[in-house]
């Protein structure tokens, strides 16, 4: 299939892993569309929704590419990177090496982003981050926007999904699904268990879920020959649960206690 991919920033390791894996799987990557981090609007939105500590963490992630981890074991995303024999740490460098069209846009909902994706005649858009998508970009690819979500659906919609799944005692899974106009309410395509163990902390849990999402996306797209096949899957919009948002300090501490108490 011809696939375009989004990313929230240039050094997004999950997006890089997805792009590389999909290319290796035999798909054509028509474009990588990265949202510019240097937007006052974006920083302001982040400041409002995540606070100062959230912005600090996000900037750290943008600069280093991987979230810091105090795990004694290897970072699951780095393991995946080694497994794919991926040398690059930026999407820009990877695109240059692979001959893939690379674009930086102010917003994924801009006309510039939409035309980049449609000009490449992409069958499908893989969402690797970059903010909430509005209907016109979804419609531009006939609703074929696919997302590896780091938690079980329909139970855990929104952010910090694997963390919430753990706190709320839902399945610790990732789900591959279509994006529609709601938040994580589109058709379900596949669900895969996250290999959680008793030594996991919040950081490793998250990294494992993201790494599992990359693998699950790759596997799901191997089974789908045409985008039309996706539309036979269940729509979850009608049974969607309460949307999740980033864990505050108290709930983060509770999750840490919960994970700790399993050892």
């Amino acid at each position: 299939m011809k696939i375009a991919l989004t990313a929230g920033f240039d050094k997004s390791l999950p997006a890089l892993l997805m792009a590389d894996r999909l290319l290796t799987d035999g798909h054509a990557i028509t474009a990588v569309v990265v949202v510019s981090p240097y937007s006052i609007k974006r920083v302001r939105q982040m400041l409002v929704s995540r606070g100062f500590s959230g912005v600090k963490k996000a900037i750290n992630k943008m600069l280093k590419g991987v979230e810091a981890s105090d795990s004694t074991g290897p970072n699951p995303l780095q393991v995946l990177k080694a497994e794919q024999n991926l040398q690059d740490s930026s999407l820009k460098a990877w695109c240059a090496e692979k001959g893939v069209s690379y674009h930086v846009v102010k917003s994924l909902n801009s006309d510039e982003a939409v035309s980049t994706i449609t000009d490449g005649n992409a069958d499908m858009l893989v969402y690797g981050g970059g903010g909430i998508l509005r209907s016109h970009i979804i419609e531009a690819v006939n609703g074929n926007v696919i997302n590896p979500h780091a938690g079980p659906l329909p139970e855990v919609r929104g952010m910090n999904a694997i963390e919430w799944a753990t706190l709320l005692d839902f399945r610790q899974t990732v789900t591959v699904h279509l994006i529609d106009s709601g938040i994580d309410t589109g058709r379900l395509i596949a669900e895969t268990a996250v290999p959680v163990d008793n030594n996991d902390n919040i950081d490793t849990l998250r990294s494992k879920a993201v790494a599992t999402g990359v693998r699950a996306l790759s596997e799901a797209l191997k089974t789908i020959k045409t985008p039309a096949e996706i539309n036979t899957h269940d729509n979850i919009g009608q049974v969607a649960g309460r949307q999740c948002f980033p864990l505050g300090q108290a709930l983060t501490e509770l999750l840490a206690v919960k994970l700790n108490s399993r050892t």
Binding site: F245, L247, G248, A250
Partner: protein, 374 residues
């Protein structure tokens, strides 16, 4: 009282301590009652009977929480002052004390009933219940057949919807004295308010004025009044469930703003003004936790903690002005629309209540997690 285990619980405990002590100072300066507010420019205000009344249950909870007898002592002294200024007809006047107009005020009388009921439950001393019964009867006698109080509001021409915060204490008194006419009057009003709920969860007339936006302070009054009334008559579906759509909106807005919730909303839930009503934040945290108590979901607790955390983050602790340290401003920033430039005693009261509830809920969850490990 054992040492809180999580850093966030320790932080809540610290804020509870400094805010509780500020409440004590508001009573020390209050000429018998608790000062309505402190202003850096004008100092401590005169005492406010209404909020002195509902500060009492908070002080009694602080006594239980900290084991500090001085909180109980203050609660009783404030209660005695309220007995001394009760009108002969059982009502209490509105505004600050001394009042320009001594006529009874529906809303203010209702809030004072909470103090009287709490003191009675704490001590079993009949004089508190007698005063509460007289006040509740005065309120009940004035409710019309259609369920409204025809007189007594200080700003609006129709009975505001946030008077659910009057029905609640009436039902508190009914629970203690079993006076059926009081319960019937409260239900008549609450049933009338149910008809004001719109499809988007908004209850029309829930602001101070007949039209225009409502502060989160009175939005929370309205919701909490319904929730507590439902608890007292043991019928969640009748009065509390209808508040869920509004609380879902508040949940989302609280999360999306990371606790920096807009201070007022119009009837389409559009934020009006760029300020936070801090007491509204604390009150709505309580409302979310009350809904969560009925339908457990840690997502609601998360939103409540963010609302509380925001208030804690902007609370001043080390200024040279003792009336500011441990106080909670009306608005953030201080010059925001709600209680401009002042630190009201009710903001401190609701912050204490929210901290107590949040601590309790997080602690109970912590207990479950650590219990599961054994």
């Amino acid at each position: 009282m054992s040492e809180p285990q999580l850093p966030s619980l320790q932080r809540y405990q610290h804020h509870l301590d400094i805010t509780g002590r500020w409440c004590q100072r508001s009573a020390e300066k209050g000429k018998g009652g608790s000062c309505a507010h402190f202003s850096p420019f004008l100092g401590w205000s005169n005492p406010y009977p209404e909020t002195t009344g509902y500060l009492i249950p908070t002080l009694l909870k602080l006594h239980q929480h900290f084991g500090d007898e001085s909180y109980r002592q203050t609660a009783q002294e404030l209660g005695q002052w309220l007995l001394d200024i009760q009108n002969d007809d059982g009502s209490w006047h509105g505004g600050l004390h001394p009042a320009k107009q001594p006529e009874g005020s529906v809303f203010n009388t209702g809030q004072i009933l909470k103090g009287m009921a709490a003191l009675y439950r704490d001590s079993n001393d009949q004089r508190w219940l007698d005063a509460a019964s007289r006040g509740a009867k005065w309120l009940a006698d004035d409710v019309s057949a259609s369920g409204l109080w025809p007189n007594g509001d200080y700003q609006a021409s129709v009975t505001p919807s946030y008077y659910t915060h009057v029905a609640w204490p009436m039902l508190e008194v009914w629970q203690l004295n079993q006076e059926v006419s009081v319960r019937q009057a409260a239900e008549r009003y609450l049933d009338k308010m149910l008809t004001r709920i719109k499809d988007n969860g908004v209850v029309s007339h829930w602001g101070f004025k007949d039209s225009g936006p409502a502060f989160t302070h009175t939005i929370a009054y309205t919701i909490r009044g319904f929730q507590e009334s439902a608890r007292l008559i043991d019928d969640y579906d009748r009065y509390a469930a209808p508040m869920e759509p509004a609380l879902e909106v508040i949940y989302r807005k609280s999360e999306m703003s990371n606790g920096k919730l807009a201070g007022s909303f119009d009837e389409k839930w559009h934020a009006t003004g760029d300020f936070v009503c801090l007491t509204g934040n604390a009150q709505l945290a309580i409302c979310l936790l009350l809904m969560e108590a009925q339908k457990p979901d840690l997502r609601l607790v998360n939103a409540a903690t963010k609302l509380v955390d925001f208030v804690a983050n902007v609370q001043r602790q080390s200024t040279p002005i003792s009336g500011v340290n441990g106080a909670v401003a009306g608005s953030y920033p201080l010059w925001g629309k709600y209680m401009i430039g002042r630190y009201p005693n009710w903001a401190a009261k609701y912050f204490c209540d929210a901290l107590l509830m949040t601590q309790e809920r997080v602690n109970s969850e912590l207990g479950k997690q650590t219990e599961g490990a054994t």
